[in-house]
């Protein structure tokens, strides 16, 4: 049985390889392969990969340990959902998932209507060159369908820290984001080849780039949320290399979506948009490379293998060389002169583009510097998180200002004093709130105050702009996606700053019966007990949280002891309140008498996730409004 599956699945991979090769040949306008058409081939690509992916899921579900991948990454006693997510909890499986998304985007684009046939053909051909490369890599260098000769009775198991429902959906969501930019890249190259990077092009690109961006945002947020409650360190962002690797394409993509909008409205900045499209996809690949190669020393790196990283590195190199030579050759021909005022929305977006690129550079240097010293000087070092926060914070202030003012300006030249008069109440309101906040909470750091002030301006102006009545008191359609995302970003920034300033941490050693204090709360250590679950044993402590003698909640931090493979994890117990989270983690007792408990008060965490959610929803709304209003005055 296993042998048949082995042949079928490898045949499917070869089938996709062949179809992609034929599809790629359509990049030159040849007469040999007019049949089969692109749609037919796109079907073959999709179905062959989808089937092999389903086969892999099936192998994990029935725990067929004749396959190496299943043996190394699964265990018969694992709960069903983790057998399922184990499919992409390893290198080979996650590459297959990556390819599945690649062919899915290829297929969806081939389905879309209203695009000239030649342009579609070239885009699909470029996408298929990438599919060919990745399937070849999968087939020859990291084949998920390899058999072993031994009859293993059971598998090794999945790292327990990955046995988490959130982590089951985090990689697919993140990958849809990363891989979505492959299509944007293909569209950019097709635009360069046909020399048609114009308003029409921007309208085609817009839904794809916005949805990829929304998925990437959601993927990063899920990873951060997972780290917050699973790693048990009380933080949500550590400026860890792997986190940075996902943040870098996000920053480039954020610049890109705004450039696509300017291009669509004013027909300017063609070259820059193309550069950003290439940059975003390259950074997505760098993200995959950094995580997969194992050259990073990170808390998030799993399933890594240095040899395979080389392939992705080579691939990134080829893509950069190819696309930038094409760009150098054709860039003069795509620049058409549209018009844009000096004091205008476009200028504001351009300035923020530069600020984003600066932040990108900061993150890039901080991530790459330790790698460079390690490889070149054989010297290990780490860049402290303070580097990022102190360097980025001043830029964020400027960024928030232009984010607030730009949507208020028109696309053509706008008189500044008119805007100032329009905005006076808004400024006064925000200033008052900021003053109250800073006095009440004794906040006297200028950077923090300024970030809160401009965030407030941004939030209030975006929210008021999205609720707009005309003279007949009817709610008119406004730019809801944009306003929601912008307000969300303001809320996120406010929450990040306040969280950093007001987080509190206490560490205690506790015996049963002890009363521990954290601010106005008392925690009574009630009892500790052992619990047996299907795939782990756990030590569970019970803390009763009281305020003024009244019981408010019970906290149950846990330590879990997994046996396949042997691992210990701490599970935090978190109470989410609107204004602050209370967070308890315990550690393995050093002696038998007491346990160590770490208690955190993390203010504004709920609001922080809320802001992030608004950004994601804003992106989805913008992606789904297909037809932009062209030449809006």
């Amino acid at each position: 049985m296993s042998l048949y599956i082995f042949y079928i699945s490898n045949f499917l991979l070869l089938l996709c390889l062949t179809a992609s090769l034929i599809q790629s040949s359509k990049i030159i306008n040849n007469k040999i392969f007019t049949r089969p058409g692109i749609m037919m081939l796109a079907y073959v690509q999709l179905i062959s990969i989808l089937l092999s992916f389903l086969i892999l899921i099936y192998l994990f579900l029935i725990s067929d340990f004749n396959f190496d991948l299943v043996y190394f990454n699964s265990h018969s006693e694992k709960p069903l959902i983790y057998k399922f997510s184990g499919v992409w909890g390893n290198h080979e499986g996650s590459m297959l998932l990556w390819i599945l998304i690649l062919v899915l985007f290829n297929f969806l684009f081939a389905l879309s209507r209203g695009i000239s046939e030649r342009f579609k053909e070239i885009t699909v051909a470029i996408q298929s060159i990438m599919i060919f490369g990745f399937v070849a890599f999968l087939f020859f260098l990291s084949n998920p369908f390899t058999l072993n000769q031994n009859n293993f009775f059971d598998g090794i198991g999945l790292n327990p820290i990955l046995q988490d429902p959130l982590l089951a959906i985090h990689p697919p969501v993140l990958y849809i984001g990363y891989v979505g930019f492959s299509l944007v890249f293909s569209l950019a190259i097709a635009g360069l080849i046909t020399k048609e990077v114009d308003q029409q092009w921007a309208s085609i690109v817009k839904p794809w780039v916005f949805s990829a961006w929304a998925f990437l945002t959601a993927g990063i947020a899920l990873g951060s949320f997972w780290a917050y409650y699973e790693l048990g360190w009380g933080g949500y962002w550590f400026w860890d290399p792997v986190e940075n690797a996902s943040l870098m394409p996000w920053i480039a993509a954020t610049a890109l979506i705004h450039c696509v909008l300017i291009l669509q409205k004013r027909n300017v900045m063609q070259s820059w948009t193309i550069i950003l499209a290439i940059l975003t996809f390259s950074l997505s690949l760098v993200g995959t490379f950094l995580v997969r190669s194992g050259i990073l020393n990170s808390v998030h790196t799993f399933a890594s293998d240095p040899g395979r990283g080389l392939f992705i590195l080579l691939f990134i190199f080829l893509i950069l060389v190819f696309s930038f030579s094409l760009f150098a050759y054709n860039s003069e021909k795509i620049n058409k002169i549209g018009s844009m005022g000096l004091v205008s929305r476009g200028t504001g977006i351009q300035i923020n583009n530069w600020l984003l690129i600066t932040i990108l550079t900061i993150v890039f240097l901080g991530t790459m510097y330790p790698l460079a010293t390690d490889l070149l000087l054989n010297k290990s070092l780490t860049v402290g998180p303070k580097y990022y926060s102190t360097t980025i914070a001043p830029i964020i202030i400027l960024f928030l200002f232009f984010m607030f003012i730009s949507p208020r300006l028109g696309w053509t030249d706008t008189k500044l004093y008119q805007i100032i008069i329009q905005l006076r109440y808004l400024v006064i309101t925000s200033l008052t709130i900021t003053l109250i906040i800073s006095l009440y909470f004794e906040l006297f750091n200028l950077t923090e105050i300024l970030i809160i002030f401009f965030s407030l301006l941004l939030i209030i102006s975006s929210l008021t702009a999205s609720i707009n009545f005309n003279k007949q008191n009817i709610l008119v359609r406004t730019n809801l996606g944009q306003n929601l995302a912008h307000a969300g970003f303001g809320i996120l920034m406010m929450a990040v700053v306040s969280n950093a300033v007001y987080s509190e941490e206490r560490i205690y050693n506790a015996k049963v019966g002890d009363n521990l204090q954290l601010q106005k709360y008392i925690f009574s250590f009630d009892k500790i007990e052992q619990v047996e679950e299907s795939n782990y044993n756990s030590l569970k402590a019970y803390f009763l949280m009281k305020k003024d003698g009244k019981l408010i909640d019970t906290f149950t931090p846990e330590i879990r002891f997994y046996s396949n493979p042997p691992t210990i994890t701490s599970e935090a117990s978190i109470l989410h309140k609107f204004f602050s989270d209370i967070y308890l983690v315990m550690n393995v007792p050093q002696d038998q008498q007491s346990i160590s408990v770490r208690m955190h008060i993390k203010p504004f965490m709920t609001i922080l996730w809320l802001g992030t959610l608004m950004i994601i929803i804003g992106g989805i709304i913008s992606a789904s409004i297909r037809v932009g209003r062209l030449n809006e005055k």
Partner: protein
């Protein structure tokens, strides 16, 4: 020089200046926040590093672990050749144990002791921090592949 060329040249020079200033600021900030990693032998050779924040890694030496109170711990970190005594106040990660790899962050004091304020947590008990492997390889004590 035509006006167009002139204005392009000015724009170019101006952006060059702005970019270099920005990069300089970034790099200076980067240098201030770098935390170096040392093994015990390396650290003993660099006694001028006393008083700086750094990371130290190696194996927790056998029979070195003591606790003064419930949350003040003493242990030493070794690479097989040399040892450095560490004092740490706080919570120890679940997987902390003698003869296992560990990385601590803190200050190397002028009395030769290392005051740690962080013991970096790791995921599974077979995991060895890459820096520690490197340190053990340097001292010839590495026994893995």
């Amino acid at each position: 020089m035509t006006n167009l060329v002139k204005s392009r040249l000015i724009k170019f020079l101006l952006s060059l200046i702005i970019v270099s200033i920005a990069v300089l600021i970034i790099i200076f900030n980067l240098r201030d926040n770098i935390i170096y990693f040392y093994g015990p032998t390396e650290l003993l050779k660099n006694s001028d590093k006393q008083g700086q924040i750094m990371r130290l890694g190696g194996l927790v030496s056998v029979d070195s672990f003591q606790n003064e109170t419930d949350s003040i711990f003493y242990f030493s970190i070794t690479d097989g050749d040399n040892k450095i005594d560490v004092k740490y106040e706080g919570i120890l990660p679940n997987l902390f144990a003698e003869d296992k790899g560990v990385v601590v962050e803190g200050v190397y004091m002028n009395d030769g002791r290392f005051i740690a304020n962080k013991v970096l947590a790791k995921h599974d008990e077979n995991y060895m921090p890459p820096e520690v492997i490197e340190t053990l390889k340097k001292s010839g004590k590495w026994q893995g592949e």
